[in-house]
Symmetry: C2
Subunit: 434 residues, 2 copies
Amino acid sequence: MEKVTPKTLSGFMELLPNEQVLFNQMKETIQKSYEKFGFLPIDTPVIESSEVLLAKAGGETEKQLYSFSKGDSNLTLRFDLTVPLAKYVAEYYNELTFPFRRYQIGKVYRGERAQRGRFREFYQCDIDIIGDGELNIINDAEIPSIMYNTFKNLGLDNFTIRINNRKILNGLFEHVDAKDVAVDIMRTIDKIEKIGKENVIEELKTLGLNDGNIETIISFIEINGTVDEMLEKLSTLNIENESYKTGIEELAQVVKYIRLFNVPDNYFALDLTIARGLDYYTGTVYETFLNEYKSIGSICSGGRYNDLSGYYTDRNLPGVGMSIGLTRLFFILNDIGLIKAQKNSISDVLVISMVEDLSMSIKTANILREAGINTEVYFDNKKIKAKFKYADKLKIPYVIVIGEDEINTGLLTLKNMTTGEQERLSIEDIIKKI
Amino acid sequence: MEKVTPKTLSGFMELLPNEQVLFNQMKETIQKSYEKFGFLPIDTPVIESSEVLLAKAGGETEKQLYSFSKGDSNLTLRFDLTVPLAKYVAEYYNELTFPFRRYQIGKVYRGERAQRGRFREFYQCDIDIIGDGELNIINDAEIPSIMYNTFKNLGLDNFTIRINNRKILNGLFEHVDAKDVAVDIMRTIDKIEKIGKENVIEELKTLGLNDGNIETIISFIEINGTVDEMLEKLSTLNIENESYKTGIEELAQVVKYIRLFNVPDNYFALDLTIARGLDYYTGTVYETFLNEYKSIGSICSGGRYNDLSGYYTDRNLPGVGMSIGLTRLFFILNDIGLIKAQKNSISDVLVISMVEDLSMSIKTANILREAGINTEVYFDNKKIKAKFKYADKLKIPYVIVIGEDEINTGLLTLKNMTTGEQERLSIEDIIKKI
């Protein structure tokens, strides 16, 4: 028969079992971390009606979509978990309790150009808090504190959550009368480390800014120091603008509360250049960087938005959230060696029989499982060496050997596969030991 | 602004948070049950190349597919987890350890005609054991024993795993020289309860069977009694056919071992009429029924196949597996009232402040979470009644109230929301209590 080559599409992560075990552990850690803060799970479909999903999308995003027709329906695979959340909250508004604290962990789809470390199918792990008409600023501090806890639980330590507030940027651009070139200014500012201050000033001039305003912008982006010093300096810049002032107040509140949530000062920072897309977020914005690997970009981002579901409902539903792109994070951490697959197996014990009759082996496994121990029995009629090789390859921590002696005495041979140590024990003692 | 109606596609299950909590508990129970037997997780993409996914498909299935093009690729959403497994094992053969015990829990897609209780996107929860060239018959007993444990862990009790062996049917049809009308015979036999024995005989005649052969078939399907009686009667039917005899031997082995795996006799049965599609399975086959709700059909099915990956590789990879269609099972159990969403919340505790300063509330929540308790703080500046209403609606089991008194004394008010009981306790005592 003609064979088809078994091939997984490029841009789609598919792991070997040992790496999958590690990936799943990370996913579960994230889930448990979110649940520790009382977030509720939702699970929206991967496929949505294009009309619903694309109410908001457009431009660049649309090219990346997986869209198709089935019967007379136009369908699209979700490209994030935020639009499905917007739909969900609008659709079930009457049945939800607000503030609605939800998490969703699921795959999303973007037909990006395939390149190393970029995925077309990837897990997003989102938390959002949605208010009904209003949402206290404390939520803007709790969200990054949850991410701090999540990353610590994942075993990461050297990271910084960088925080800004869009109102400050908006206010600044209003103040220098340059709202319409805000995007260009941001782009120019971003290059300061690369091209230097003088060149930035030259570029700002070409955008039509006068010297005074350029000076204000430069003073603004040169603000540095501790979090408290930066907040202080922001206030003394003499920018008389409502939005700017509100932004500083909000940022100060976020800083106050994030400390109350026990996030140490060395895990968060203010970064006045973070904007995160110019039309979605309206207040606090976040990005998270691994301090030693800044070049890989933000591993967890998000922010505050005024109006989650404006495309579906007139209700005012403000929210704040962050998202971890788990597939990319896993790839990066694996790539730079910060994580490593340890377990090749889910089993704690493999039971190996030296005799043909497997009754005793199976009964032993039943008892071990009853005691909560993940156990498998080697069934195939192979040489003892092949059986041990199976345990070796899967790195199963313990092997129980059952032969004539063990059946007669009821004392089983337990081999610790890491140390090679071997002893004869009752099943009760084995359970205690493992 | 023109609003888009926020609407989920029909045939796609989307749950409210309280039902989602229950659904996720079931999914986790299934996962833990599979892991107890040492099965390894894999997670294949939802999208595969059509060429790979449809190497095997055809006919009825193809109409239900979600297929589309992206760039110059023809893509299809997976319609089960078996074909992706076949691809996976062929693709990574050299890196896998055999017997390969894998589970996969994920969504699959079938564009069936939408009707109540039928879903176009649904979770399958599969376990399979794949051998390299050979696979011991004991595996055919372990698989249903895992499903027995899984259903018990799900809290189900009144179910029967029905077992047959395709070799018995194949042998019977060979013996009565009716292999080419096997499908028609099976279809006729299936109707015996509806149309009666006489009509079945009439129909068998029209299929060209002679009286002797019809008598053999009728004797065969009239076999009843206990499992052991049935095995005995199968042997005494005087059907001299290799396949038939092998089938009986295998079935007897499966019965012997399923008992060794501690599955009580009232949870499994032989059912000589189960065939499960005539070309895929080659040996043992299973279906699982809720005894009081047989009309809903099998809730967990599977069987033994000779050749998992024949479309991709020349290697002989026999396997045996079963699958739970979780989305449909959840819908049914919910519908007939066998399960009921209890928890509206993930939180164990809600902290409510009577004072404006939330410092003490947040610090209390930090300590509770540190102690492993899922905790949220009510942030919004609302009346105390509104705060309690939130706890009520989410059915959060405990509320901690923090006011001036609590801040001064350090003794917090703990309210049990189920009993209404209220007491003043130190944070340490609260942790012990919850």
